[in-house]
Homo-oligomer: 268 residues x 2
C-alpha cells in the first residue's frame, strides 16, 4: 500500500512512512495529506503530530479536527539531527523551523553569528545545501550524499528527541481496538470547571489520559477544541461509557473518535 | 518607561507595546525579550502569547517557563490584516507564519497559485515589499506608506481575530492582585489522573480556569509542563489555598506564579 507524507525524500516523515507502507508519495503540507485521504484520492497518509522538544505540530492537529479521516496507528521515530554542508565554510543554516528549534542550544554555542532560516522541510534544506555552498542543512545524516558532508552528528538539544506520527486512513477504516484512542472534543459551550468535567469521565474509570492539547476553536479568544489521547481502546466498556458522558457534556458541540490504535517504535 | 518588544516598527507587538509604554525598543525574538528583562537589561517587555485563530505562541510560553520574569498585565489587540504591495503585479506573499496562517482561506480563494514565504515578522514583510515589487506583505494597513498600496483589507480568516500579549517585568515587580493569574507547573512526576488532580484545586474553589496549555518538558515524549490561567488573584485566600495543594502535588517538580494582573483591550 502507498502512503502519502511530507516530502521531499529524506524527511523524517519519509522515514516514518517507509516503515508502514510499501511505497511512499509526497505532499507539501500536513493539510494536503489529510485532505487527500479524506477525499479518497489516497488511501493512507502519515503526518507528524508531536515532537518531544518542540511540542505539537498544530497544522496536523487542526487538519485532523477538520477532516474526515481515521487514525490507524502511531509511529515513534527517533530524531537524529546532523549538520550537513559542502564544507565548514557555510554562512547560514536552513532547516524546518522545528529542526532549527530542536538544535537551538547547539547553534547558539557553536554558530552564534550564523543566520538561521526556516524552510519547508529538513529535506528541502538538504536540497538547498546541495545547490549552494553557503548553506548548511539540518537533517538526518543519511541525507549527506554526493558533495555533502556530515559536519556534526546528534546536534539536537536532547537525546530523548523523538517525533510521534499518525498513520491515517479513510473514516471507514477506523478501528475500535487498540492500546490507545484519540478523541477531538468541541464542547460548544464554556463554563467554569468545564475542562475538569471533560476529564473526569476518564479518571473515574482509571483510564490514563496521556495527552491533552487545546487548539483555538476560531470563534473567539479563550474558546478551545480539545485533542485528548487515552490509554484504552473504544472496544472496552469503560471507554464507551466515558465517551457517552463526554458526548452529553458536549451536546451543544461535537465529539469525534479519531480511532483506536497501537504504537510502533522505530529503531535509530 | 521603555518597553522591549518584537520589531521592527509596525508589528502588532509594536501596537501592543505603544499602548503600555512611553517608548518602545525592538528585539528579534520572544526569547531575547524575556532574557533582556530577566537579566535586568530592560525593565519592561511585551510578548505575544496566544492568537484566537493560530493558538499559542510556543516560543513565548517556553521563554516564560524558563525565565525569571513576572507578568504585569495582559493586552488584547485586534488583528486587522491587509494585503500590501507596490501593485497587483506581485508574485509571492510574505509575512510572519502566524499571519500567513490567519489569512490562509483568503489566500487560497484569491491567490491559490502565489507562493507563500514565512519571514520573521509582519513588519519585515512590509520592508521586503517596499524593496521588491514582486513581493506582497500581510500586515496592519497603517504600514502601507510611501510606494506601498493597501490592495485589500481585513483579509484575516475570521473577524474575531485577536492576539493576547503579556507585559512582563522583573520578578521583583510581581503582583498578587488582579483579575487573572498565570501559573506554570512542572509536576516532575506522571501518573494516571495527574492532570485532573492539578485542576481540581481550582474547580473545588469555583476558580474559573480560562486556559490550560501543555508544553513538552523536554525530558521525554508524553512528559509536560502546564501553563494554567485562572480568573482570580493570588491575594485571594481561595487562590493561595489552591496553589498550596498544587505545590504539594508537584513536590518532585516546581510551580511558578508568574503573576496576577488585569486586562487591557485596545480598540481597532
Amino acid at each position: 500500500m502507498d502512503a502519502l507524507t511530507l516530502g521531499p525524500e529524506g524527511t523524517y516523515s519519509h522515514r516514518a512512512a517507509s516503515a508502514v507502507a510499501d511505497s511512499v508519495s509526497f505532499a507539501e503540507s500536513m493539510t494536503a495529506i489529510v485532505d487527500a485521504v479524506a477525499s479518497g484520492r489516497h488511501t493512507r497518509g502519515v503526518v507528524p503530530i508531536e515532537n518531544s522538544i518542540e511540542g505539537s505540530v498544530t497544522e496536523s492537529l487542526d487538519a485532523l479536527a477538520a477532516g474526515q479521516v481515521a487514525v490507524l496507528e502511531e509511529v515513534i521515530v527517533p530524531i537524529r539531527h546532523a549538520l550537513i554542508a559542502q564544507s565548514e565554510a557555510f554562512e547560514s543554516v536552513e532547516s524546518h523551523s522545528q529542526a532549527l528549534g530542536q538544535s537551538r542550544e547547539y547553534l547558539d554555542r557553536h554558530y552564534p553569528d550564523v543566520d538561521r532560516d526556516p524552510v519547508a522541510s529538513t529535506a528541502r534544506s538538504v536540497e538547498r545545501a546541495r545547490e549552494d555552498a553557503s548553506i548548511a542543512a539540518i537533517a538526518h545524516p543519511d541525507n549527506a550524499t554526493d558533495a555533502l558532508q556530515v559536519l556534526d552528528t546528534d546536534i539536537q538539544d536532547r537525546d530523548s528527541n523523538v517525533t510521534r506520527f499518525f498513520v491515517i486512513g479513510p473514516s471507514d477504516d477506523r478501528r475500535d481496538a487498540g492500546s490507545k484512542s484519540t478523541f477531538v472534543v468541541d464542547p460548544g459551550v464554556d463554563h467554569p470547571g468545564l475542562l475538569l468535567e471533560l476529564l473526569e469521565p476518564f479518571a473515574d474509570r482509571d483510564i490514563n489520559l496521556t495527552r491533552l492539547e487545546s487548539r483555538p476553536s476560531g470563534r473567539e479568544l479563550g474558546d478551545y477544541v480539545f485533542h485528548v489521547d487515552v490509554e484504552a481502546g473504544l472496544n472496552e466498556d469503560r471507554t464507551r461509557d466515558a465517551l457517552a458522558e463526554i458526548e452529553a457534556l458536549a451536546s451543544d458541540g461535537w465529539v469525534r473518535h479519531l480511532g483506536s490504535y497501537d504504537t510502533r517504535r522505530l529503531d535509530e
